[in-house]
C-alpha cells in the first residue's frame, strides 16, 4: 500500500538529449577540469554523488535566512527552521513512499543500521519492556545477511550476534554475482549449497530462513555487482517465520523508483550523499509500530518527554531516535535533493541509467576485461511484485583487467580525467568469494552521459598496453 505516489516521470521514458544537457547544467562541479585541464568524467557516483545547485542553494538559504534551533524556542526563526526541517522529512518520505513519521534522520546509512542493531540489543537487555520483546534475540536465534553486503550492513550484525549469542548466517552469492536463493527455505528440499553459517554444522536441514531466523538484513542493490536483490521473495520468506527485514537501500533509492511500503520491509536505510544530497545526513525508515516499540540507542536532549532524577519517558518516534542537535541544514538540503529527483521522475532516471548500464557493460568486449556481476541488464519478472518491469541491475559495474591491478587501472583512467573507484568497495567477503583482492568500479548517476561512458571504454582499452600486459 502506497501512501505517497513515487516518482512522477512517465513510465519507461528516458531523458531527451536536451533534458540531459539541462540536468548536467544543474551540477556545478561537473563543469570543472582535472589533471591539467582534462574534462572530468565522474564515474564514481556509487561512492558519492555530485550535488545539484538547488541542494547547495537550499543549504545556504537555510543558513542565511532560517538558521535556529529546531523543536524548541517560540521565536519566529525557530518556527521557520522547524518547518523547513520537518518539510524535508516529508520530501524524503515522498521519495520512498512512506509516512512522514516513519523517517528518522541519521548521520547516514551506517549509523541507521547500527541504530537498528543496537536497538535490538537493548531490547534483548530488557529495555523497551513488553512492547520490545518482539525484537529480542539470543542463543539459538539466527541473524541472516548475505555474502554481498557492504561492511556497513555486515559488521553491525556480526557485533549483534557476538553480543547476544545469536548465530550469524548468510545467503551465498552465485558465480553470476546474484544471490543464490536455492537454500532459502527448507520446503524446496535443497539446503544451502555453500550457504554459510559461522558454526556450520553441515546440512542442518533447515533453510537459511527458518523458525529460528529473527532478522534478515540485505542490500536492495549491491554496491559492487550492481545486482538487484529479489526483495519480494526474501520479504515473503521472512514474514512466514516472523523475522524482521532490514533493507540497505543505499544503492537503490538514488537510481530507481523505491516504494518501501509496497516492498513490505520492516526497516530501510539510505544516505543523502549518494542521493544528490549533502554529507552528514541519511534516513532510517521503520514501520510505525516498530519504531514505536524499538528502544532508543542514543539518548539525551530532544528525545525525551518527562525527565526526573529517577527516570525518563521518551518522545514518540521519530524524535525518540534523534537525540541531540540534529544536522538541520543538511536534512533540509536532503529534502531539496529528494524533490529534485522526484521532479526528474524516478522512472525516467531509472530508464536513463539502464541505458548507461548497458553501455558500461560493453567493457566486457575489451580483451582482458572481466565484469564481476551480471553481464547484461534484464527486466524483473512478475515474481518481483512491485518491482516487476524494473531493470534487474543498476549502472554500477565492477571489473578486473587481466595482468593489471585495479589500483593501476584507476590511475591510468584518472590520468584521462576519468574518476572510478578502486579497491574492495567495503565488501571484502564478496571479493574473497570471487578470489580477487580488488576491483575497479564505474558507476553512473542522473547526470552521466553515454558519451562519458564511451570515453571511459576508450581509455580502458589502452590500459593493458600501457602496462605491457598482453
Amino acid at each position: 500500500m502506497t501512501t505517497t505516489e513515487v516518482g512522477t516521470g512517465p513510465s519507461g521514458r528516458t531523458f531527451t538529449p536536451a533534458e540531459l544537457v539541462a540536468v548536467r547544467a544543474d551540477f556545478p562541479l561537473l563543469g570543472r577540469t582535472v589533471r591539467d585541464g582534462k574534462r572530468l568524467v565522474y564515474l564514481d557516483s556509487a561512492a558519492t554523488s555530485q550535488k545539484p545547485q538547488v541542494v547547495l542553494d537550499t543549504e545556504v538559504d537555510f543558513y542565511e535566512q532560517r538558521n535556529a534551533a529546531v523543536h524548541r524556542g517560540a521565536h519566529a526563526l525557530a518556527e521557520e527552521a522547524t518547518e523547513a526541517f520537518e518539510h524535508a522529512r516529508q520530501q524524503v518520505a515522498a521519495l520512498v513512499g512512506t509516512d512522514v513519521g516513519e523517517i528518522v534522520w541519521t548521520p547516514g546509512a551506517t549509523t541507521g543500521i547500527n541504530l537498528v542493531a543496537t536497538g535490538i540489543q537493548h531490547a534483548t537487555l530488557g529495555r523497551g519492556g513488553e512492547a520490545a520483546e518482539r525484537f529480542r534475540v539470543g542463543p539459538g536465534d539466527e541473524i541472516l545477511v548475505t555474502e554481498a553486503e557492504h561492511h556497513s550492513n555486515l559488521v553491525p550484525w556480526q557485533e549483534l550476534a557476538a553480543r547476544t549469542g545469536a548465530t550469524l548466517r548468510w545467503i551465498p552469492v552465485g558465480d553470476d554475482g546474484r544471490l543464490d536463493l536455492s537454500g532459502l527455505e527448507a520446503a524446496g528440499g535443497t539446503t544451502g549449497s555453500g550457504a554459510g553459517r559461522a558454526d556450520d554444522d553441515g546440512r542442518g536441514g533447515a533453510g537459511l530462513i527458518n523458525e529460528r531466523t529473527r532478522v534478515v538484513a540485505f542490500a536492495h542493490v549491491s554496491n559492487v555487482t550492481g545486482a538487484v536483490a529479489p526483495v519480494s521473495r526474501i520479504v515473503a520468506a521472512a514474514r512466514r517465520v516472523g523475522a524482521l527485514t532490514v533493507l540497505d537501500a543505499c544503492q537503490s533509492v538514488p537510481h530507481r523508483p523505491v516504494d518501501l511500503h509496497a516492498l513490505g520491509v520492516d526497516f530501510a536505510v539510505f544516505s543523502a550523499h549518494k542521493t544528490l544530497g549533502p554529507t552528514g545526513v541519511g534516513a532510517l525508515y521503520g514501520r510505525r509500530e516498530l519504531l514505536e516499540a524499538l528502544p532508543p540507542v542514543t539518548t539525551g536532549g530532544s528525545m525525551v518527554e518527562v525527565v526526573t532524577m529517577e527516570g525518563t519517558t521518551f518522545a514518540p518516534p521519530p524524535l525518540k531516535f534523534e537525540a541531540g542537535t540534529q544536522m538541520v541544514a543538511q536534512a533540509v538540503g536532503f529534502g531539496a535533493a529528494a524533490d529534485y529527483l522526484r521532479e526528474l521522475g524516478m522512472d525516467a532516471v531509472c530508464a536513463h541509467e539502464a541505458e548507461l548500464a548497458t553501455e558500461l557493460l560493453r567493457i566486457a568486449e575489451i580483451p582482458g576485461v572481466r565484469v564481476i556481476g551480471p553481464a547484461t541488464v534484464g527486466t524483473l519478472g512478475q515474481d518481483a511484485g512491485p518491482e516487476a518491469g524494473l531493470p534487474d541491475r543498476v549502472a554500477a559495474v565492477s571489473f578486473v583487467v587481466d595482468g593489471v591491478h585495479a589500483h593501476d587501472v584507476g590511475q591510468v583512467l584518472d590520468d584521462a580525467g576519468i574518476a572510478v573507484r578502486v579497491g574492495h568497495h567495503c565488501a571484502q567477503p564478496l571479493h574473497r568469494r570471487f578470489g580477487i583482492a580488488a576491483t575497479a568500479r564505474a558507476s553512473a548517476s542522473v547526470y552521466t552521459t553515454v558519451d562519458e561512458v564511451t570515453a571511459f571504454r576508450e581509455a580502458l582499452a589502452g590500459v593493458r598496453a600501457f602496462f605491457g600486459a598482453e
Partner: protein, 163 residues
C-alpha cells in the same frame, strides 16, 4: 614526460614484472630473523616479508643478510618491495635506517625529489618513485614494503624500536 609516465617509470614496471626477493626463504639458524605481514586496508595490498640479519662479529654492526617476501597488490607496492630488497641487502642496520628515512623524505616531497642530489643517489632505483609522491593516495603503496621491513627488523630483535 606526463605525470603518469613519471609515476610508472620503466624501472618500476620492470620490477613489478620481475620482482627481486619474491618467495619466502628459510633463514640460517645462527642468524636473527623476523617476519612481518602488512596490509593496506583501503586497497587490500599485502606483503609478508622476512628479514635475515647477520649479527655483528667482534663488536661490528649487524647487517641485513637478505630479504625475501610474498605479496600481492598494485605495481607500485610490488615494485617498491622489490627495489627495497635490492637496496638494503648486505647493508648494516644503521644504513638501512638512513635509507628508510631518505625514502620517507622522498615520498613526502610532492614530486620534487630530495634537495641533496648526492643523497638521492644513495637511493638508487628507489628514486624512480619520486613521481609517486605527487599522488597522496599512492604513497602508502610505495611505503608498504618499507613498513614491513622496519617491523620485521624489530621482531628479529636486531633493532630496538618501532616508532
Amino acid at each position: 614526460m606526463s605525470s603518469l609516465e613519471q609515476m610508472y617509470q620503466q624501472v618500476i614496471l620492470d620490477h613489478a614484472k620481475h620482482p627481486v626477493g619474491r618467495g619466502l626463504v628459510a633463514v640460517d639458524a645462527d642468524h636473527l630473523h623476523g617476519e612481518s605481514h602488512q596490509v593496506n586496508p583501503t586497497c587490500g595490498d599485502e606483503v609478508t616479508l622476512r628479514v635475515d640479519v647477520l649479527p655483528g662479529v667482534d663488536g661490528g654492526p649487524a647487517r641485513v643478510a637478505g630479504v625475501s617476501w610474498e605479496g600481492q597488490g598494485c605495481s607500485i607496492s610490488q615494485a617498491s618491495v622489490s627495489v627495497m630488497t635490492e637496496l638494503v641487502s648486505d647493508q648494516p642496520l644503521d644504513e638501512v635506517a638512513r635509507l628508510d628515512a631518505l625514502f620517507h623524505d622522498l615520498m613526502g616531497s610532492r614530486g620534487k625529489g630530495l634537495d641533496d642530489e648526492g643523497v638521492e643517489d644513495d637511493l638508487g632505483d628507489a628514486t624512480a618513485f619520486t613521481g609517486v609522491s605527487k599522488y597522496p593516495a599512492r604513497i602508502k603503496c610505495a611505503l608498504l614494503g618499507w613498513a614491513a621491513l622496519k617491523d620485521s627488523l624489530v621482531r628479529s630483535g636486531a633493532s630496538a624500536t618501532n616508532d
